[in-house]
Amino acid sequence: MTGESSRVEARVARILRIGDAGTRIELRVPVSFVVPRAGQFVQIACGAGDAFRLRRPFSVCGWRGLPDGGEISILFSVVGEGSAWLDARKSGDRVDLIGPLGAPFRTVPGRIPILLGGGRGVAPMLHFADQIAEALPDGMLLYGARDAHAIFPTEGCPYPVYRSTLDGSIGQKGTVIGLLEQMLSRGGIRADSAALFGCGPTAMLEALSRLAVAAGIPVQVSLETVFGCGTGLCAGCAIPLRAKPGAPEDPFGRYAFACTDGPVFDGAMVDWEAVRE
């Protein structure tokens, strides 16, 4: 990871509240900031100075390169004090962040990328689509949300976007996993040529991974847990993994670190029972 991430004083370029869906913030970073890859995240110091607060992790949802640096964008919802602080920023404000961090999504040679975003989990998927669409133009994005109000705009997305909402107010009624199952069964997506990439609520990622494993489709998921440092120092961000079949027993390998080994994991390797507990 050395040299790949740095701490920068970013500036808020734009901040936009998108209905119930949350907030999109675009942050200007200097050239020292390495181009982030989809699935990577940044650690933001949410709160200036006096009070102690751990940094908060946010996935990068877009990148725009500029001659003297670039802009990263983040989609987020307010769930507590840290995200409320971020939501209160105004254009021009400073934001202290570290990044890009973590292991990104990786395309699977010979397979068509099927991206699945649940709720604000659509963020890294939009970034992934931007990053790979030129090389892999046949991909698509399946995007599930609670209802029409909770949908982030996906206009610029280079992939076709298929949507689902729980109440059917936009797109197909039901979950994004239901949508995927339907497309698999109707042949819109073929198990032998697809690779699945997901980000969203843990229950969705578990369902996605089980489905993928059952259907023999490669699957990568971006997982969240509570972070201490986000930089591989504290061992706080444990993700339980299954033992590799046939591999020697390795107690240390029971838990991987979401911040450095992840946040993107092979969905087949995650021990979902233990995650759920």
Partner: protein, 304 residues
């Protein structure tokens, strides 16, 4: 770089400056090399003779001005440490303090025996104070004779420097320190975390699967100061202070009390190079105050 002489001595071990990282908050010391090469010393994540899986997640809860952790000593074990981490660590050229833990005296003894064959380790910090590993019953520190037996056993095993890391969760950390010094410790590290817990009201459950965890961060600094003072009043071996140190000013408070060096722990989660921030702030303050050698500052607190 500072013109002030910041070097200190912890027994036989000379450190180029008094700022170390605290065990478990800076990985194995090789994850952030740019910061690591500037520290006075690196204390590794606590190692055990066998690799350990650690505790199930979540392992971290934020609390007012602090945090609880329940990592459970997840570590690669002594063998893999020597093979995979130590070479890179030695390449940094910073003093190396290997933290060692275990469930029994034999665990400690076996780990030190194996580590003692490996070159380039400057000292061992004996973690007899981890609140998150209790299979053996309770913390060693809660039974002074158990603490003493760990130290005297490994004392016979190695000629390297032994630092005993103490728990604040005791009635008298001063008498515990005395016991440890008597058993052969070359220095005392104080303090490990305070036992704490947090509750999820909506779920009506503890936030940590193991219920309790260790509290660290600025919240504990006033208590750490008082604990370090108790230790300093009871032993004459060097004391390495740790607990809530996040700024250069924080570090200077512990040195003023008489600690010979400090460790930055939770501070590293604010910035992975927070140890160097502490170092630079400390040097700038001393320069402003006209203190030319850290030795003049250490222990110069005026108590009436």
């Amino acid at each position: 770089m500072s013109r002030i002489d910041l070097s200190v001595e912890i027994g036989d071990l000379r450190l180029r400056n008094p700022v170390l990282c605290a065990s478990g908050t800076f990985g194995y010391g090789i994850e952030q090399p740019a910061a690591a090469i500037r520290l006075g010393g690196i204390v590794t994540k606590t190692l055990t003779i066998e690799p350990r899986a650690g505790n199930p997640p979540p392992r971290i809860v934020e609390t007012p001005s602090g945090m609880l952790n329940s990592i459970g000593l997840q570590n690669v074990g002594v063998e893999r440490f020597i093979a995979e981490k130590l070479p890179d660590l030695r390449a940094l050229g910073t003093a190396i303090v290997v933290s060692v833990g275990g469930r029994s005296v034999d665990d400690f003894d076996a780990a030190i025996a194996r580590l003692d064959d490996a070159p380039g380790i400057d000292a061992y910090e004996l973690n007899i104070s981890c609140p998150n590993v209790k299979e053996g019953g309770i913390e060693f520190c809660q039974v002074p004779s158990a603490a003493a037996s760990v130290i005297s056993t490994v004392r016979r095993r190695t000629r390297r420097s032994l630092w005993a890391k103490l728990s604040p969760n005791v009635t008298s950390i001063g008498s515990l320190a005395e016991t440890c010094a008597g058993a052969g410790a070359d220095a005392i590290t104080a303090i490990n975390t305070y036992v704490g817990m947090a509750i999820d009201l909506e779920k009506r459950r503890p936030r940590l699967p193991g219920v309790t965890g260790g509290l660290s961060g600025p919240a504990i600094r006033p208590m750490a100061l008082a604990r370090v003072r108790e230790v300093l009043r009871r032993v004459s071996i060097p004391v390495v202070a740790v607990g809530g140190i996040v700024t250069g000013r924080d570090a200077l408070e512990f040195l003023l009390l008489g600690a010979k060096a400090v460790q930055v722990g939770t501070g590293h989660f604010l910035r992975p190079d927070q140890g160097t921030v502490v170092l630079d702030e400390m040097a700038a303050f001393l320069e402003r105050e006209g203190v030319s050698s850290i030795g003049d500052w250490i222990g110069s607190l005026k108590e009436d």
